[in-house]
C-alpha cells in the first residue's frame, strides 16, 4: 500500500489544520514526509489522489461552517442577476460578486499553471525556502496594513462589501495563485492582501475562508475522477481515513481561527513560518 493508515491519519490531520491556518498545507505535506523519511512525494499520482480526498473534506467543512452565509450569498447573486444590477444596499450580492471576481483569476491561473509549478517546486528544500518567504509576507502584510488592529462592530459582510473594491477583489483573488507554490499559504496571502486593502484581521480571515471554498472545492472536484479511477486503487481506504481526519481538524481550525482573529494578528504564524522554514532549510542543507 503506497500510503499506510498511520501516514494517512498524520497527513490528514496536518492537511485539515494547515489548509486553514496561514502556514501552507502543501508546503507541510511536502516537508513532513521528507523529515520523517517517508517515501511519499508530492507528484506521485497516488499522493495527489490522497490530497484530492483531504481537500474535498476541507472544502465541505468550510461550506458547512459558512452554509448560512453561502445561502445568503447565492440568493444575493440570484437577485442581482434577476434585477441586472447590484443594489447599493445589497451586501450579499456585492459580497457574492466580489467572491466571483476574486475566484476567476485564481481559478484560471490554477488551471493553467498548477501542473508546471508543481513540477518546478516539487522538492522539500524549495518548500522550506518558500515557507520562510511566506513568513516574511505575513510580517510585511501586518506591517503595511491599512487599518489599525482593533475589534469592530456591525455585520462583517457589510464591512467587507464596503471596503473591498472590484479591483481589490481581483487583486486579492489573483494573489491566491501564489499558493500553487508549495510553502506559500493560500489563506496567508489572502488574509495578508485583505489587510493591505483595508480589512481587519477578523474580516480578512472571513473573506479568505469564503474565497477559499470554491477554489479548494473546484480543484478537488476536478480531480475526483482520479480518486475513483485506477489511480485510486490501493489508496482509497487511507484517503477516506485521511479525509475524515482532515475534516475534524479543518472544523476545529476554522472555529478557532474565526475567534482568534477577532483580537489577534498574523504575527505568530509569520514567526512560525519563518522559524520552521529556516530550520528545515538548514536541516535539508546539512
Amino acid at each position: 500500500m503506497p500510503i499506510s493508515y498511520w501516514q494517512a491519519i498524520v497527513l490528514g490531520l496536518l492537511q485539515g489544520f494547515s489548509e486553514l491556518f496561514p502556514i501552507s498545507s502543501l508546503g507541510h505535506s511536502v516537508i513532513l514526509p521528507q523529515l520523517l523519511g517517508w517515501n511519499i512525494h508530492q507528484n506521485d499520482s497516488y499522493f495527489i489522489t490522497f490530497l484530492v480526498a483531504t481537500h474535498l473534506a476541507t472544502a465541505l467543512v468550510l461550506l458547512g461552517f459558512f452554509w448560512r452565509d453561502w445561502l445568503r450569498i447565492l440568493r444575493g447573486l440570484g437577485r442581482s442577476l434577476r434585477d441586472r444590477e447590484i443594489a447599493p444596499d445589497d451586501t450579499d450580492a456585492k459580497l457574492g460578486w466580489l467572491l466571483v471576481v476574486g475566484t476567476i483569476p485564481a481559478g484560471l491561473l490554477g488551471l493553467l499553471l498548477e501542473h508546471k509549478l508543481r513540477s518546478v517546486f516539487a522538492s522539500a528544500q524549495s518548500a522550506a525556502f518558500f515557507l520562510m518567504i511566506n513568513g516574511l509576507l505575513l510580517f510585511a502584510a501586518e506591517a503595511l496594513r491599512r487599518r489599525a488592529p482593533q475589534a469592530e462592530e456591525g455585520d462583517p459582510d457589510d464591512r467587507i462589501a464596503r471596503r473591498i473594491s472590484w479591483r481589490d477583489a481581483g487583486g486579492v483573488g489573483t494573489i491566491q495563485a501564489a499558493a500553487l507554490v508549495p510553502g506559500i499559504s493560500r489563506s496567508g496571502v489572502t488574509m495578508g492582501a485583505g489587510l493591505l486593502v483595508g480589512l481587519s484581521n477578523e474580516d480578512a480571515a472571513r473573506y479568505a475562508f469564503l474565497l477559499a471554498t470554491p477554489i479548494i472545492g473546484a480543484a478537488a472536484a476536478l480531480k475526483l475522477p482520479e480518486l475513483f479511477g485506477s489511480q485510486g486503487n490501493g489508496v482509497r481506504g487511507p484517503a477516506l481515513v485521511g479525509a475524515l481526519c482532515a475534516a475534524v481538524t479543518a472544523y476545529l481550525s476554522v472555529r478557532f481561527l474565526m475567534r482568534f482573529f477577532e483580537t489577534n494578528r498574523l504575527t505568530p504564524f509569520a514567526a512560525y513560518c519563518l522559524a520552521a522554514g529556516l530550520a528545515c532549510t538548514l536541516y535539508f542543507l546539512v
Partner: protein, 104 residues
C-alpha cells in the same frame, strides 16, 4: 448611488447633455456587443478544447501538440469560465434605465 456603468444609460433623459450621453451610450453598447462576442467565442473555444485532442487543435492555440491524443480539459474549463464572465458582464452592462426610488 448609481454605479458608474449605469450612468451612461440614465443620462438619456437629460436633454442638456444629450450629445454627450449619446456618445457614451454608443460606447457602452459597443462594449456590450464586444463582451457578448468574446464570451461566445470563448465558450466555443472551450467546446473545441473538450472535443478535440491536442494534435487536432489549430497550431496557434495554446495546448497544440503534434501527435498528442490528450484532451486539454482544464484549458476548456478556463476558456468556458472566461466566456461566462464576459456574458455576465454584458448582462449587467446592458440593463436599461431604472426608475429611481424616492429616497435616492
Amino acid at each position: 448611488m448609481p454605479q458608474p456603468g449605469r450612468i451612461a444609460f440614465r443620462c438619456l433623459c437629460d436633454r442638456r447633455t444629450e450629445s454627450v450621453s449619446c456618445a457614451v451610450v454608443e460606447r457602452g453598447r459597443l462594449l456590450v456587443w464586444l463582451a457578448v462576442l468574446v464570451g461566445l467565442a470563448l465558450i466555443a473555444l472551450a467546446v473545441v478544447y473538450w472535443a478535440e485532442p491536442a494534435k487536432s487543435l489549430p497550431s496557434w492555440l495554446p495546448g497544440h501538440e503534434a501527435g498528442s491524443n490528450h484532451h486539454h480539459v482544464k484549458h476548456g474549463i478556463a476558456s468556458f469560465l472566461l466566456g461566462l464572465a464576459c456574458l455576465v458582464f454584458a448582462w449587467f452592462r446592458s440593463a436599461g434605465p431604472r426608475p429611481r426610488s424616492a429616497a435616492a
